[in-house]
Symmetry: C2
Subunit: 276 residues, 2 copies
Amino acid sequence: MTEVRPPGDGTVGKALGVLDRVAGFGRPARLAELQTVCGLPKATLYRLLQTLVSQGMLTHDPDTQTYALGVRLVRLAHAAWTQSSLAPLARQHLDRLSAETGDTVHLAQLDGAHVLYVDKRNARRPVDMFSQAGRVGPAYCTGVGKAMLAFAEPSVLDRVLPQQSFHGFTPSTITDEAALRQELAQIRADGHAFDREEHEPGIICVAVPVLSLRGRLLGGLSITGSVTRCSLDGLTDELPKLTAAAQAIAEDVAAWRFPEAEPASLAANEVPNVRS
Amino acid sequence: MTEVRPPGDGTVGKALGVLDRVAGFGRPARLAELQTVCGLPKATLYRLLQTLVSQGMLTHDPDTQTYALGVRLVRLAHAAWTQSSLAPLARQHLDRLSAETGDTVHLAQLDGAHVLYVDKRNARRPVDMFSQAGRVGPAYCTGVGKAMLAFAEPSVLDRVLPQQSFHGFTPSTITDEAALRQELAQIRADGHAFDREEHEPGIICVAVPVLSLRGRLLGGLSITGSVTRCSLDGLTDELPKLTAAAQAIAEDVAAWRFPEAEPASLAANEVPNVRS
DNA sequence: CAGAATGTTCCACTATGTGAGACGATGTTT
DNA sequence: AAACATCGTCTCACATAGTGGAACATTCTG
């Protein structure tokens, strides 16, 4: 893969890139393996890894000489999920939407050029948080992805569209940028997006953007179904509930982001109270 | 000014420190606020923040001029949780232990000097993952904390003990390093640790370390109860189940860490491009 | 035991990040 | 309204901090 390098922010960028690479392996990775996927010289990579280990972002198993993601990430992510993601605020609305429609519900946010699912309701099974939330998917061929792109800032779009892989998962996948831009215009006009089996055969969905009261893109919300059990028209009937939920989430966000009167809080060093 | 983090490795260390700081606020933080808690000059902080935003680790809300943790962390943490933490492997064992004992069960790992809970079973309610796992707690006054410290490498201990706050949560809290070292020796001899209302009044627990087959410390496992409903003796009766579960987890880990013959099996959900 | 992998360390070079201070844009006080 | 205060942004001379080629050490492999 060609080394694209628009903004390769310095040392920190490289270090975080390495983190991603380690995450990319589904297993502990060795130095030599990482060397091939990161484009970095051995010595540089080595130092970076040492730093990351010392920082607790990675762990190093001296027996197998492998690097794996560190638990510090879990702690950070806990904070990220509760603070920055829509998930905690949207929780109740997802629950209700899921109960009302009986379908699978997804809440997503844009993570760079990709779609990141931050919460999910399966029709039946209870949430299995980390194994569901935290997943990434393509933006150009999913309902939430297109819904979000359609309402993203133009500057974001210009940065993000060229990064789409446009891989043709199914015959109906949109495979070039021009067609996608056209589709996005349509979505912007309609206010909602469809996934017409573009990512996975047999899987369809309706999605709407979650927009702040000021109109800024916060995330996306979708209802998914399979062609065997429902149709696009059937899903469209649920649209009012979907948009209502998106609106409700936006209102909750507005209510939470503003009343930030509370003072400096505790010393960051202190540890929150958790029972053992 | 307290040297909060371990020896702050270079630029990357500073950047990650900033991340922690932002996480430390329970809300979006402003530049000036961060400037007070990180010991960094304004301009330096500013550049770091820019880098982190550009990297997707933070988000910047131009309206309120605040920084919050970015969703990229959630993605990374998903990988961290499934790969590096014991949680996915231990899941079934936690389930069984919880079912057998009926008590609250915790699975933890050491995150630097603190205890990080990676999974939990409440007596009744189903898992509420993110609101439970991902939390940190003190090591010197919790069951899992002491169990893990007792079986940690001496070098780890030397680094980590001085970082304990030794705050006296209750009358029975161990409040100095010497006493803790003694307790740890006892725990090492016994093979298990008690929390005798050391962290929270009325809350007691038994904990054992989870050790790899080669004897390396992987994590800690505990059963918690309240003094009103059970006693230390009562909890001790559950010890066989606890140690059995810890052993079973260790075996699963060994089984999973070794068969690493398979190459990058699936085309895992599109690995995002780093340099872009 | 040669040979080829690996992980680790060294060190001269300079690219990178540094931080005091200047700037302009809001918002607050007299 | 003018004077003041505060905050985010930007600049620039400087040296720290990161770089990467190459040598070294240490295991696997044939």
